[in-house]
Symmetry: C2
Subunit: 519 residues, 2 copies
């Protein structure tokens, strides 16, 4: 009954040891290499006195060392705590303290910040900090250790026989409220997700996926890395999303699968592909936010032979909860149907299931193999999220008669104007139809009379001429009177998070505030 | 993180509701029907006051009601306790008492015995007994209930969100020693086994498997029923193995997969197929005992287009532990290699791994997703079986340089003659080479001088002329002096268990006793 997620690596290695598991620039690592190096890392970590269940924080961009550390942690029966390398020292310190991490692996570029974080952290004992250097560099702050030291141990061999419900990954997420909480994702859950997920979009062992999504997020970790390893495929690591670099990597390594968030698709769409041969691309997986129908259509026109399949999930549901499984069965605008073994419902505020229909909007709740064990050390938050036995996503949506799910918005993003629900996404979809709009985010601004007023933050493409008034008029023609934005703010760009998601939180002060943003 | 094994039924039903899940004679039940009826059974069982985790004993031959009850129990979050219908009342009583079953489902033919068993059982409260009748009959002993009563409840709907490591099936097995113990098989474990197992022999949704192995054993339950349901295929139920009935059913329903124990293959091999068209058969899965190489070769000659793939497993390893995955990679005489995610070792009496080589015989130990949670209420037996973190199978074997496993025998069947190990299977293989031998079992007889003496129990085909002396001479020519049987007993037939396995236990009194068996 033991099961260790690292089995996906070992079995694919057994099948085809010399197959490249990952490319990065001109470097490649085979399955055998990643398996062996991660086995050494596993031994080194256990050699420090860490015991199964102990936490190791990994704050790395998409580098091969991410893979070595991740699989090493799993093999050793330890718990992986992936952290965004861009976190500031007090934020990292919070995560170290909350998780009780004993080791931190960081990258040279962020090492000074990591050292400060370790000083701030309250973990009882000091957190050993290992620094990954780029080739040729050897510098690291005092008190930190070379990552290479983790290479010198003997191969761990057979992975620790963890229980299938033991926690493999502790993934921090802000959820709907409060400070980040660690979602406990188990070996079983992560195995199921990459197995069921890979089947959904037909991942084959000759597929080559672009890993441009950060692997420290669940979408990149499960749907890109784990899916590829489970199926004996290959990933191309791109440490940071830049359109030109992504296009270059896709052409060079003949990528077949692209996984990204809508803003990435949007940027690629509006970029000059400069005659690059991207004809190997066959599937685009989109998630993390709703993809505007316009973008999907335009993207498939620009890259014929490619189909965009949209899915939906959260950290707590181990990436996948629903998916549009193929071009024939997909429904544009829908997030698809539940994954194999996953149940999804739309419920009213009393947790009663709602019937199908676009006017039956409620909270999306999920149950199944994909749902986390709970929030680490947060029994109340766990109980609250799981009330009635279903995990509450905080997303609002509805189903149609055939069971397709539609997300209308995040519950917390809902704007209530004069008693009417305005779903920002609906307004954003209209804005995206405007030929000059490249990004749009609709938020609510407190209003004495109406409760909230609808405000749109928009950025335009180069050379665009539309004014704020033009865009208001554009929306007014296409939306009911209570929905269209009374105010549009043109910004040079919208703030985005590490996955490329637009950060509405950061737009709110603008919307409540005085002047419009600079264009 | 919840996962209920009944998901395999619900998802395949969602995919193709009208597809036949099972045939029996002229009757068929679709996926939708089995899903709905089992949902009613689930509600009815819970309606009796049973709570998740409570045990329900099912003592049925391969009838559709087996499927309804099995999936009903799973959906309700209860624990299935499959029992052999041929057990005598005191044996059934032991199982009811040990498992603490609250409900017993039996078949009309065995209902009187079941009533006696319930009287003998010490379960604290009375065991409700439901009787399955054949169509047209309505009789049942006083105090028992109609099975049909379980049909009248409302559909249970979504299965109980059991934890993936909750026990789904409590499967009694004698293991290596003592009275039968209940192996706790979890939802996760059984799911993994039918998924990994089905992939191994390439089960497709258009496959039709012959379910002639009893479903109350793990081989039939996991490798036949669960594999078919997981993959949206079909099973043909045959309540009792008789060669003619099996052949008839295979032709009528155009079976593609046959799963059986070696004695079944042997009987089919020696039978007159009378011009039946069995050309749809493509894979034969063999397990439960080692298949003599002679039988495999002869069977494939008789049924061209068919390949026999041999596997190995026990109740405690949820059927599959190793398998020969295809004709190209199989090794005749070997039980193959470990399943995906399963680790197998051969260890010496101190639990140290042995190197490869036919002279490096040790006990086969197993670890992985397929291994049971433990023996129900038997902490010592569980600890003993899992010493060193590996499940001890009680089977002796070795590996070759390429990792193929060979079983030489059950540890308890080993004969030690004058200090030399004699593996009965090796001697049996030689006996099967004799053209007149249809069944052979070699056992040890206590001997004052040598410790044990080698005795062979043999049955011959119709019209055979070989004498006991002929067979001794035949073996003497082919085996080392310390191995060949000094005594051969000709029997009209050898005693077999419900799966067709030869019961050496029952032969032992003969071997120690006075006269030879009647021919």
């Amino acid at each position: 009954m033991s099961f260790n997620l690292a089995t996906i690596l070992q079995e694919s290695r057994r099948e085809n040891p010399d197959k490249p598991l990952c490319h990065i620039n001109d470097l490649e690592f085979s399955y055998a290499q990643v398996d062996e190096i991660s086995g050494r890392v596993a031994s080194a970590l256990r050699g420090l006195g860490l015991e199964p269940g102990d936490r190791v924080a990994v704050q790395l961009p998409n580098l091969p060392q991410f893979l070595f550390t991740y699989f090493g942690i799993l093999k050793a029966g330890l718990v992986m705590v992936p952290l965004n390398p861009l976190l500031k020292a007090p934020e990292t310190a919070y995560h170290l303290t909350d998780s009780g991490a004993r080791v931190l692996v960081t990258f040279e570029m962020f090492a000074e910040e990591a050292v400060r974080a370790v000083e701030l952290a309250e973990t009882g004992e000091s957190v050993r900090t290992y620094v990954v250097n780029l080739p040729g560099n050897d510098e690291r702050p005092e008190g930190t250790l070379h990552y290479d030291e983790l290479y010198f141990a003997e191969d761990f061999g057979e992975p620790e026989p963890t229980g299938s419900d033991d926690t493999a990954v502790l993934l921090y997420t802000s959820g709907t409220t409060g400070r980040p909480k660690g979602a406990e994702l188990t070996h079983f859950q992560m195995y199921m997700n990459c197995t069921v997920g890979g089947d959904l979009f037909g991942f084959r062992d000759d597929d080559i996926g672009l890993a441009v999504l950060p692997l420290f997020h669940i979408f990149g970790l499960s749907s890109v890395l784990n899916v590829a390893v489970r199926n004996g495929g290959t990933v191309v690591l791109v440490p940071r999303f830049e359109t030109a670099a992504a296009l270059e990597a896709m052409e060079r390594h003949r990528c077949t699968i692209l996984a990204g968030v809508p803003t990435m698709y949007q940027e690629i769409l509006h970029s000059d592909t400069g005659g690059r041969d991207l004809s190997t691309l066959r599937v685009g997986v989109s998630g993390g936010a709703s993809m505007p129908g316009e973008v999907m259509r335009a993207f498939e026109e620009k890259f014929p032979g490619m189909v965009i399949l949209e899915g939906y999930g959260l950290s707590e549901t181990c990436a996948g909860a629903t998916f549009n499984i193929n071009a024939e069965q997909r429904r544009v605008g829908s997030i698809g149907k539940p994954l194999w073994g996953v149940s999804v419902r739309v419920v009213d505020p009393d947790d009663q299931p709602l019937p199908p229909g676009p006017d039956q909007v409620g909270e999306i709740v999920v149950r199944g193999h994909n749902v986390m064990k709970g929030y680490w050390n947060r029994p109340e938050a766990t109980a609250e999220a799981f009330r009635g036995g279903w995990f509450h996503t905080g997303d609002l949506g509805y189903t149609d008669e055939e069971g397709y799910l539609f997300v209308v918005d995040r519950k917390k993003d809902l704007v209530i104007r004069g008693g009417y629900n305005v779903y920002p996404r609906e307004v954003e979809e209209v804005l995206y139809e405007h030929p000059e709009v490249t990004a749009a985010a609709v938020i609510g601004r407190p209003d004495a009379r109406l409760g909230e007023e609808v405000v749109a933050c928009v950025s335009l493409g180069p050379g665009a001429k539309a004014t704020e008034e033009d865009l208001i008029a554009f929306c007014k023609e296409r939306l009911a009177a209570y929905k269209y934005p009374r105010e549009v703010r043109l910004l040079s760009e919208l703030p985005v998070g590490p996955t490329g998601k637009i950060l509405k939180k950061e737009l709110r002060p603008l919307a409540t505030g005085e002047s419009g943003g600079a264009t």
